[in-house]
């Protein structure tokens, strides 16, 4: 492919690509910074947590969320790239949902944020479809054998989010309090929500 033998670091390669495009005037001013800001600040699992909390306290919203996740998330201002078709998956006491993208690493950026490294790892992608109970166990979530597990493979344009079961002992909590319990892990289904 080239006369060079030593592979440049990813950092040097990234700088090279940026410089080569910039030198040709192809990168509009502020475009990269804008993307990075959106990715770092706007796309946030706290958004998904707020969606979940709202669904827990507002039965009408929950119904709308299950019927049209995209529109319900947009009500709270969460929409856009990789959020064009959001489907919310409601956990039940007897059925647990977990999300993966085995072929790349798709996820619902506006509500879940950019995915964590574990989600993008070959280990998770390879294993969770074949042995979800074992994978969840290794990640700290023990599910009894009689709880069914549905693994959702993000192979097309649907972007999933999990609505975990509301933990006991949270009756009367505010929406904000509830949202603070919902972790990014719970939104993908590798953890439950607890009030402890």
């Amino acid at each position: 492919m080239s006369g060079q033998t030593k592979i440049a670091s990813p950092e040097a390669r990234t700088a090279a690509l940026k410089d080569a495009l910039s030198k040709k005037g192809l990168i509009p001013e502020g475009a990269l910074e804008g993307v990075i800001q959106t990715a770092s600040e706007e796309w946030d699992p706290k958004n998904g947590a707020r969606v979940v909390a709202r669904a827990w306290v507002d039965a009408d919203f929950r119904k709308r969320l299950l019927e049209d996740g995209t529109k319900a998330c947009a009500e709270l201002g969460y929409e856009g790239i990789q959020g064009e078709y959001i489907v919310a998956l409601e956990d039940e006491p007897t059925r647990h949902n977990v999300i993966v993208c085995t072929q790349c690493s798709c996820t619902a950026w506006p509500v879940l944020g950019l995915p964590a490294d574990w989600y993008k790892s070959p280990e998770y992608r390879a294993r969770v479809v074949r042995e979800p109970r074992k994978v969840l166990h290794e990640m700290g979530l023990d599910l009894a054998k009689d709880i069914a597990i549905r693994v959702w493979e993000t192979s097309a344009e649907t972007r999933y989010m999990v609505i975990p079961c509301r933990p006991e002992g949270t009756e009367g909590w505010s929406e904000e309090q509830l949202a603070s319990l919902v972790t990014r892990e719970a939104l993908v289904g590798i953890a439950l929500v607890t009030s402890a």
Partner: protein, 211 residues
């Protein structure tokens, strides 16, 4: 393509490394690589999301497994910027001060013949079979469910068909279906009871199955 990216169900991988309170980006170059690709898609219209996914799939398998996610993003995006002529590999390598491994070229004849299905053929509850196709180019039907039978849980809107979009094929939209497969159907008697996988599949990947 039946490539290394199609990892679902592959055995031999170890423990999943989990980092508490992981940052969005671990290093600034990762953020830049991510943004370069997004700008390449959304602003420069250099490539679309399907071409982008496939550019990563075309990485040599050992490079794919060695690279972190953002190195994969970088490699795929750079490959497409080079292939479309926006930048030159020699120039990139001179700037980087070392070699800049790209993904391998697209296959000749990347698409298989699948009849377009503009109207949803299936409904919730239908039993559907996944065609056992092996396109040399991009496809979004994981190998682990090919030839298997599942049940439609949900009918999603019509979306651009990726096998065509990744290779300059005629634009078409088809509904996708959330199809549930029992673990024991996917992995035979090495599967597990009470576990299933739901795969989101375009209409033309499917055929009607006996219920």
């Amino acid at each position: 393509m039946d490539g290394i990216h199609d990892l679902g169900g592959m055995a031999g991988f170890g423990t999943i490394a989990y980092e508490e309170d992981e940052p969005v980006f671990h290093e600034p170059w990762q953020a830049t690589a991510f943004a370069l690709n997004i700008v390449g898609i959304g602003v420069l219209r250099n490539h679309n999301a399907d071409e982008y996914r496939h550019s990563i799939e075309r990485m040599l398998p050992v490079h794919y497994l060695q690279a972190c996610y953002y190195e994969r993003v970088l490699t795929g995006a750079a490959t497409l910027f080079v292939e479309k002529g926006l930048v030159d590999l020699d120039d990139l390598e001179a700037r980087a001060g070392g070699s800049f491994p790209l993904a391998a070229p697209n296959a000749d004849d990347p698409m298989v013949d699948l009849t377009p299905q503009p109207v949803a053929r299936f409904k919730v509850g239908d039993r559907v079979g996944v065609k056992d196709i092996h396109p040399k180019g991009h496809t979004r039907v994981p190998r682990f469910c090919r030839g298997k039978t599942g049940t439609v849980l949900h009918v999603a809107p019509a979306f651009s068909f990726p096998d065509a979009a990744a290779h300059g094929g005629a634009f078409r939209k088809e509904h996708t279906y959330h199809v549930e497969f029992a673990s024991t159907d996917l992995w035979s008697d090495a599967g597990s009871e009470n576990e299933s996988v739901v795969v989101d599949l375009w209409d033309s990947y499917l055929e009607a199955a006996a219920s």
